[in-house]
């Protein structure tokens, strides 16, 4: 079965890559809400991870101080981004690496395809990278006759089932163990037909499937979690060891990173290596974190390329508030606590960046071309309950950004609706201090819309398509957050 038969885009026509879906959020959410299996899988997975995260975060006495450090390091980085990138480039180059710059997704793909062609390889192993998902690199490689093997378990599940990722950390979060077993039995040529759906057996099947590929690969392609400007050191945070395989065994390594992934100093990692694992997989530390600096004789790839990707990030940087979205370390905590994400899943957001952060990042990266732009509906994909801000390890004020983005979407309208006007008023109110008190006013608004029955049965554009499919429980009188606490933890 090809991707075309499944109605999915093969090559990203947009120079931005996979930052836009084909349907608005309400329409896409409508389909997702009708899928009870999907909702059950998501409910189970996000409940599991919420409990784990809460347990390991409560072990850390200085969690709030770490969050503030994470927030201010990122803000400082963005305020000095051009100089830090030049420093990173100097350091990587001095240590034997080569640095490339890409204005957009298309250019990044062209650079990587040319580099791979230059090695003569016709296949590459890849470790999960949001940046190359964003650019649609796999499709570009395929078009150039290069087979790209995703090696992260969840990414492999997505690739084998010709599906799309729906979560940062676990792109196959929408699949349960029984479905994964089916996919493996159908798509892995040498799989043991007696494979059960026991997670350990499934992991073993992935190991057997990829082992030869790792041991013989000539080219590895990775993303980057943090790049240290001061030393030129790059890092990849992972669990399975597939990252280590891709970073260590091939002769050539190509790493692709969004320009915002740079941090000023090595010391800064002491903050992020505490914040990221506890927020993402709910572990004290993920099994493996690799760091490397340029090329090390006798250890690992002897040719190293770093591709620095803009692809709309400079647009986001120009917005004094909106740039906060670039602080994101892709932990996915905001997805896991979001009541909207839990019901709709990641595909409904269209862009490869789903959930609360995706809802504020994607429209800023692509810009909004008008009211019919599917990304214009994304900032409405939220109940403004504030759970995402509380969970965010770098304190991105997502509710505030959502309201701002709504105001921006409203500004693009010719004919304002009642919802628009309320949102505009709220946007103004929420730019002043006392944000959460004001967020509670938004809950009052929810109650007005809900009417006497206490169910929100319809919302004006653009949420109408969504609420028609599924009654939303109205926020109770206290606060939405307390309601969320009671029903979700």
């Amino acid at each position: 079965m090809t991707a075309v038969e499944l109605g999915m885009p093969t090559v990203a026509a947009d120079p931005h890559g996979h930052l836009r879906g084909t349907e608005s959020f309400p329409k896409a959410a409508h389909h997702a809400l009708a899928d009870t299996q999907l909702r059950r899988n998501l409910g189970h997975a996000t409940r599991t991870i919420r409990a784990k995260r809460a347990a390991v975060v409560s072990e850390v006495d200085d969690w709030e101080e770490l969050r503030r450090a994470g927030e201010t390091i990122k803000a400082d980085t963005l305020a000095r981004l051009p100089e830090l990138l030049v420093q990173l480039e100097e350091q990587v180059t001095a240590r034997g690496g080569q640095v490339h710059w890409a204005r957009d997704a298309e250019e990044a793909n062209r650079i990587v395809v040319d580099l791979v062609r230059g090695t003569g390889a016709d296949e590459v192993v890849k470790v999960k990278s949001m940046a190359t998902q964003e650019t649609g690199l796999n499709e570009a490689l395929e078009a150039a006759g290069v087979a790209a093997f995703e090696t992260d378990l969840a990414e492999l599940i997505v690739q084998l089932s010709h599906d799309r990722p729906s979560h940062f950390l676990v792109p196959a979060i929408h699949r349960n163990r029984a479905e994964i077993r089916e996919i493996f039995l159908r798509e892995m040529p040498d799989v043991d037909p007696a494979l059960t759906d026991e997670p350990r057996r499934l992991a073993m099947a992935a190991r057997a499937h990829l082992r030869r590929k790792f041991l013989t690969a000539k080219v590895g392609i990775s993303g980057v979690n943090f790049a240290v400007a001061e030393t030129g050191t790059l890092s990849v945070v992972e669990s399975e060891g597939n990252g280590r395989m891709c970073l260590t065994l091939p002769e050539t390594l190509i790493s692709v990173m969004g320009v915002e992934k740079v941090v000023p100093t090595w010391q800064d990692l002491e903050v992020f290596l505490q914040l990221l694992p506890r927020s993402s997989t709910g572990e004290r530390m993920n099994p493996y974190t690799s760091t490397w600096t340029g090329v090390t004789p006798g250890d690992g790839p002897q040719t190293f390329h770093l591709v620095l990707l803009d692809n709309g990030r400079s647009n986001v940087l120009a917005s004094p508030d909106g740039r906060q979205a670039l602080h994101c370390i892709r932990c996915s905590a905001c997805l896991n606590v979001c009541p909207v994400y839990e019901r709709t899943g990641g595909h409904a957001y269209g862009s490869i960046y789903p959930g609360p952060i995706g809802a504020v990042l994607s429209p800023q990266l692509t810009g909004i071309s008008g009211t019919d732009d599917v990304n214009a509906s994304l900032p409405y994909a939220s109940s403004l309950c504030g759970a995402c801000f509380d969970a965010c390890p770098v304190r991105i004020d997502i509710p505030h950004l959502l309201v701002q983005q709504r105001a921006a979407a409203v500004a693009a309208h010719t004919r304002p609706t009642g919802q628009d006007l309320t949102m505009q008023a709220m946007a103004i109110a929420m730019t002043t201090p006392g944000r959460f008190k004001l967020a509670e006013k938004a809950l009052g608004l929810g109650r007005v819309l809900a009417g006497k029955k206490g169910r929100i049965t319809g919302l004006p554009w653009p949420m109408s398509g969504w609420t028609n499919a599924r009654d939303l429980p109205a926020p109770p009188a206290e606060t939405f957050r307390q309601w969320w606490e009671r029903t979700h933890r």
Partner: protein, 211 residues
């Protein structure tokens, strides 16, 4: 304009438009030292606990004299082991299988054929159950030797055990590759629950030397 100049020019003008009026002050009010003293009996006890919690098997020994016995016990059925070129020879004195030193470097297929690897560690973090392998250290070696074999035995000395992540980061030199290891290879990709054993070593044993 080439891509580099254009991206930098865009970012510079975005900085003008979006930068805050006053410079950002980075606040570092988090703890940079841990609750337990480096190398203390307490910090070793916590490391034992956190390593075990993430499915590593730990043997505690009092002095380096006891290392060979503990290493040999872990290596049980292993017919061949690979060791970095500078690993103390004494550590394998009680092991009766074949020892292959990684110098000159073994090929990937040779590494795939050995049963286990024995190394030291640069530093260990008790709060998180982590040890760090530094490729520049002669008793830890290049990264491939601790990756391809399916069984890793790591010897950690009390002097290298710290309590918190910041204490470890301060001790490390990032100019050569580092690998932070916390438990055997694992995945959370199936229903977000952790299961051990994917592409990295599936068995992880630690000999912890000290009080």
């Amino acid at each position: 304009m080439n891509a580099r100049e254009e991206v930098l020019a865009r970012l510079r003008s975005a900085s003008v438009a979006g930068n805050p009026a006053t410079p950002v002050v980075v606040t570092r009010e988090y703890a940079t030292t841990g609750q337990l003293a480096p190398g203390s009996a307490e910090v070793l006890a916590r490391l034992d606990e956190t390593l075990t919690d993430y499915k590593a098997t730990v043997t505690r020994v009092a002095t380096t004299d006891d290392v060979p016995g503990a290493v040999a016990a872990f290596l049980g059925g292993a017919r061949t082991v690979v060791v970095p070129s500078g690993l103390p020879e004494a550590w394998l004195a009680a092991y009766d299988g074949e020892v292959r030193r990684d110098g000159p470097p073994l090929s990937v297929d040779e590494l795939d054929a050995v049963d286990a690897v024995v190394t030291g560690a640069a530093v260990a973090i008790a709060d998180t159950g982590t040890f760090v392998l530094a490729s520049a250290a002669s008793d830890q070696g290049r990264r491939a030797i601790t990756l391809v074999p399916d069984h890793h035995v790591c010897v950690i000395r009390a002097a290298d055990v710290v309590c918190s992540v910041p204490e470890a980061v301060t001790r490390l030199d990032p100019s050569a590759p580092l690998t932070f290891v916390s438990g055997p290879s694992a995945t959370s990709d199936i229903e977000l629950d952790r299961v051990e054993g994917v592409h990295g070593p599936r068995r992880l044993d630690v000999v912890l030397v000290g009080p």
